[in-house]
Assembly symmetry: D3
Homo-oligomer: 159 residues x 6
């Protein structure tokens, strides 16, 4: 199963050697859903509560961006990458759910899929943390790569 490139011949983990790959501009976008429940989502979208909840969304955005920068410290075989850009958008998606989307960009020898996934994941965990007193049953679902570009092969998630 030679495609699992993080494992050497004996099945031991290793960082893939990217030394001979070219430096190219690479982007990746990942998304997940935070299923808040209808009552809690209403608080985010209702006019009066936007200011108060603004804190939740903005804290989650900051946490996700900071986590994206720590990806190579969290995911053992990830290469350290100089992120050129990271943006996180958190918007209502239906009557009970927030969609969290994270886009990352770099100029490097390897892609930023893990940075985008990690950013979206930690932003969603932060929403959970700040709302769990209201609803501990919040579920974070459907975390996946939407798109990556700039490496050997591009990828778009099936619609």
């Amino acid at each position: 199963m030679e495609e699992l490139s993080h494992l050497d011949g004996q099945g031991r983990p290793r960082m893939v050697d990217v030394g001979s790959k070219e430096i190219t501009q690479r982007t990746a976008t990942a998304r997940c859903s935070v299923e808040l429940g209808t009552g809690l989502l209403a608080d985010f979208t209702g006019g009066d509560l936007i200011t108060k909840k603004g804190g939740v969304i903005q804290t989650a955005v900051v946490a996700g961006i900071m986590a994206a920068k720590q990806t190579s410290a969290l995911i053992p075989m990830c290469h350290p990458l100089p992120l050129d850009h990271c943006a996180i958008e958190i918007v209502p998606d239906g009557p009970a759910t927030l969609a969290v989307t994270c886009t990352c960009k770099t100029s490097a020898r390897t892609g930023v899929e893990m940075e985008a996934l990690t950013g979206a994941s930690v932003a969603a965990l932060t929403v959970y943390d700040m709302c769990k007193a209201r609803n501990p049953a919040i579920v974070i679902s459907a975390l996946r790569l939407l798109e990556k570009r700039g490496g050997k092969s591009d990828y778009s998630a099936p619609a």
Copy 2:
């Protein structure tokens, strides 16, 4: 909306003051699914490939435990906690999916839900990272708290 205890009167984020809470033994368990696809899961469960894939699972377990210890550095309003225990189990769950379960324990003034959720999340992201060359469409789904005990109120996820 005073229940959102991480936000003060002006909607600004803050760490909740837990100074007057009692130190008690607390546990929490979180779980998520990694939807690998049938082909990839077969490699994890087939006899011959266990050794090679053992690397994936063990790396993911190590990454998840190390991330659980970094929870308060990742989630902005989380209190630093002296984890007494952390264990992560990754097992097949149906024909195409791995279930990742993380259990954390502490003696502290506040709970370890976020540690358990973060541990499960980073273990799942590590599986993604190590298998994405085979299948970039892997989805991490249904991350939720299964149970917490030892605080003001216990919680069990609905079955």
Copy 3:
């Protein structure tokens, strides 16, 4: 000069041994000023711009709280402490200045002065970072301990 308790007999740095001190509740508050200039401060206080600038203040609050939790990783001789509480307030203070105040709390064998000072400092640096495109001449001034309580001796800054 035996009062400089971080230095042993040969002048070598060391962490002070706090093993025989009692665990007590300790608080500390630190403050600094961010001299934005009149034009920039007006943007923070004017109605229309509050939302946009809200991002600056909230990001700075989050950064300061997260930094307070990292104090023992930044300041070499600081003891690791389980923070029970951290709050940061950033408010206008005169026509051209923001006041940044950080309060920390713990139950530990040593105080949280450095946590409060570090939190205020990084919150102020974050304001600088987010506004430097407008005014690179912003000055962070008068960072000092306002008050500490709960250790061998309390302290209040002279008014």
Copy 4:
């Protein structure tokens, strides 16, 4: 207020996209003052005590350099940068004050102002930490950018 480039259209924080900027050599120098009080400064400058206090200065220099390398982990919207050089100088500046100067250098798409300011700031906080048993009223003042070079526009602080 489009000049606040860290905020997108809705006022949400984001890392600025520097992907299309050129890699150039960039330097920045920041400075602050540590107002020790006359008694404490005398201990730093007096001959016999230099060795013992050498520990304070050297520990502060090490802490400041290590913090400069952590800038992008502390300041939420800062880009990770490969520092080529960092030096910190701590010298008496008048009868009661130390001046802390930090110079950083990189070859990158964005500047190192925040690295220089963070390095100076943490070095000063370390001096505070190591001397606070003698004088908790020490004030860290006038932290500002002295100069930056190598980006779109150079900057020198007014004399």
Copy 5:
């Protein structure tokens, strides 16, 4: 091989559950040697050069203490511990060697052996880093636990 308590029944790594152990005062001391070679050691001990080399020793002490505080972030199955004390001594040991000794102390449910070993190790690596331009053949040898006290069983290394 049930004594290898970090491995559960299936050989998967896990943090040992220390929740039911008592909090006691624990100390540990570790030591290693840095074989500099005679020429380089002479520079450390000769009078005139002490000031200049003082920088090497003090930087190594600071690095070792800071690393001891990061032990649970480096060693996957280590429990996070609130260090009460850490001291590192670096002294000549024969004509060509430095001895690096690190002592750590805590009040916790588990011991500080790894903290002491990690502190000694990183202090020695820092000496290597700062002297490698003079002698890249420096060897770090004989890193071992000298003594631990305060847990279920004490230990002293054979003389």
Copy 6:
């Protein structure tokens, strides 16, 4: 003693300025021994126990790779480097010893000796941590640079 390039004229530590050095491909390999004792090593090499002990080796490999990526955060004067590759091999070496070998690769202005030494060191410490319940007298010995290539001068350890 101008060769000690980490110390400036006054003996104060500083990061060497590598800004004018060329970016080249650089590799380094470091090795150390873990003297387990004969009984413990037998458990690693015996057939039946490989699975269980596989956990020890794999955890150590993961820890070493993750530590190599943190080298510039641990060793004060090390430059941050974008590692292109890191691999760690842990194999029996005689009847009572494991040999730990770490190889690192980068394209940068300075070498990766410290990354290789740090990776080997933390992998060895992790073996110690996971086996210390069986044998606290394990010694980590002979940590040294085997080879470096790609900088101003190559180096190979004497055989």
